[in-house]
Subunit: 279 residues, 2 copies
C-alpha cells in the first residue's frame, strides 16, 4: 500500500513510523510546504521521498492530512477534487467547519474524519515518536458519511496503530474537545504568562518550580501555528468553556477572600472526583 | 542517629525510606494522630514503631515535621518547649506564619525551616516512594535564625536526599510558592470542576481526555486536608496571583471574542517562553 503523509510533523511522522514498522506501507510519500521539514522527514527515515501534493494524491492509496486545521480547511476541497478511489483521512483537531466545507462534495464519501486523542507539546518531524497512538482513543466523526470501504481502510490502520475507537458527530466532537483538550491549553498559556510576568519583578521565582508546576504548564510549549487555527475554528465552544472556567476561578477567589475554609475544603473534595476519570 | 517522623505520609514516609536505605537512621520513630496511618507505616517498614509525640521528641536526635501546615502551626511552639539539643526540621509548604509563631521562642535556633520542592498528587504512607527528593530543590528559609550545628545537621540530610539547595526569607518563599505551586493546584481544581460540571449535561465527555488534559488536571487529586491549610496560611499571596491569573484568562477570552488572531498567536508565542524554564 502506498501512503501519503500531508504535513510531516508530530502526528504525521508518528503515523509513518508505525506503518513502516508494521510493514503496512510499501512506500511513504511526504508532502510539506516547509522544505526544511520535508528534508528532515526524509533524513529521519519517516518518509521515502518528498513530493508535491498533486503527485502524492495521484500516486497513493491512502492520504493522511496531518496539518494545522486552517491548512486542512483550505486544501480539503481541492484534494477531494483530485481523488478517485483513494481514501483521505483527516486527522485534524476540529471537525465542524472542516466537514461543513465538503458536505456536498461529490467525493465526500472518500473522506474519513478521525481525530487521534494523542500528542505531545512538541511539533515538527523531530517530534515524531514510536507508539504515540498505542492505547489512545481514535474518534471517528460523522462516520456514516464515509463510504464503507473507505471507513474500513481507515479503521484497519487505526487497528495497526493499536488504538481504541469511538464515534460521534462533528458538533459533539468540537464541544467535547473544547472541554478536555482546548481549555487545558488555554489554562497552561495563561499560567505561563502569569508566572513569566511575575518573574520580571520577583526574579528567581522558577528555582522553586516543581513537578506540579511543570505538569500544569507544559502545554504552554505548544506551537502557535498549530493552535491558533484550532481556537479560531472552535471559537464558540472554547469561549463558552473559558467563561465557565473563569467563573469557577472567581468562585475559588471569593471563597478564599471571604475565608470560608469549609467551602474551600468541599471545593477541593469535589474536584477530587476527577480521580474517577484519571488513572 | 535516631529520627522521628511526625506525620507519616507522602513526605515523611519518603524521607524515612531514603534515610533507612542509606543507613543514616539507626532507628526511625513515627508519630501520627491517625492510628491507621501509623500502623500502615510500621507494616510498610517506613518506621520501626509508632510512639506518642512526647516520646519521639525525647528519644530522637532529629525530628521531622511532615504534617499539614495547620498542624505544624499548632504543634511547633510546644515541640520547641520540649527540645533540648535536638534538631527540628519543619518541612511545611508555607513559612511566614509558622516562623512568626516561634520567632521569639528561646529554642528557635534548634528549628530549621526547609521546604522540599517535591511531591506527588497522592498522600498517606502508601504514597511514600523511593527517590522522591533526588535532584529536586530544598529551600532553606530564614536559615540564619537556626543554630549553626542544627543547620549543618539538616543540610547533611538534604545531601543524603541528593537535593539541590537554595536560600530565601519567609516572605519571598511564600510569594514564590504561590506562583509556582499553589496557583497550579487552584487551576487544576477549577479545571476539574469545570469539566465535571459539563459532564452532567454532555455525558461521555471524558472518552476524549488525553495526556494533555490529564497533565493539567492531575493536581486536582490532591488532598483537601493538606491543601486547605496551605491556602489559609498563604491566603494573601494566593489571592494576588489568582487575581492576576483570572486577568490573563479574561484577556485570552477578549482576544478570542474579538477574533484578534494575530494577538492570540503572539500570546501563545509569548507563553512558549516557558520552554526556557522547563526541561
Amino acid at each position: 500500500m502506498k501512503i501519503a503523509i500531508v504535513g510531516v510533523g508530530l502526528i504525521g511522522g508518528s503515523v509513518a513510523i508505525t506503518l513502516r514498522e508494521k510493514k503496512i506501507a510499501e512506500k511513504i510519500l511526504g508532502v510539506d510546504k516547509h522544505e526544511g521539514n520535508l528534508q528532515k522527514a526524509v533524513q529521519l527515515g519517516l518518509v521515502d521521498e518528498g513530493v508535491p501534493l498533486e503527485a502524492a494524491i495521484s500516486r497513493c492509496d491512502i492520504i493522511f492530512l496531518t496539518l494545522p486545521v486552517d491548512a486542512i480547511l483550505k486544501l480539503l476541497p481541492s484534494i477531494l477534487d483530485q481523488v478517485d478511489n483513494q481514501v483521505v483521512i483527516d486527522m485534524g483537531s476540529t471537525k465542524e467547519r472542516i466537514l461543513q466545507s465538503v458536505a456536498d462534495h461529490p467525493k465526500r464519501g472518500r473522506l474519513v474524519a478521525a481525530h487521534p486523542m494523542a500528542g505531545t507539546e512538541y511539533s515538527g518531524p523531530e517530534a515524531a515518536i514510536h507508539n504515540l497512538f498505542k492505547g489512545k482513543m481514535m474518534v471517528y466523526v460523522d462516520a456514516t458519511n464515509s463510504d464503507e470501504d473507505a471507513f474500513e481502510a481507515a479503521d484497519a490502520i487505526t487497528e495497526h496503530l493499536e488504538m481504541h475507537t469511538t464515534f460521534m458527530n462533528a458538533r459533539e466532537h468540537d464541544i467535547h474537545t473544547a472541554y478536555v483538550s482546548h481549555i487545558s491549553h488555554i489554562t497552561s498559556f495563561a499560567l505561563a504568562l502569569t508566572v513569566l510576568e511575575k518573574e520580571k519583578s520577583q526574579g528567581r521565582i522558577f528555582e522553586l518550580a516543581g513537578s506540579g508546576f511543570e505538569s500544569t504548564v507544559r502545554l504552554a510549549k505548544s506551537s502557535p501555528d498549530m493552535w491558533t487555527p484550532i481556537f479560531k475554528q472552535n471559537r464558540e465552544n472554547v469561549l463558552e468553556v473559558l467563561q465557565e472556567h473563569i467563573k469557577q476561578l472567581q468562585h475559588v477567589h471569593h471563597v478564599l477572600n471571604t475565608e470560608d475554609y469549609d467551602a474551600f475544603y468541599r471545593l477541593i473534595k469535589k474536584s477530587n472526583k476527577i480521580r474517577r476519570i484519571l488513572k
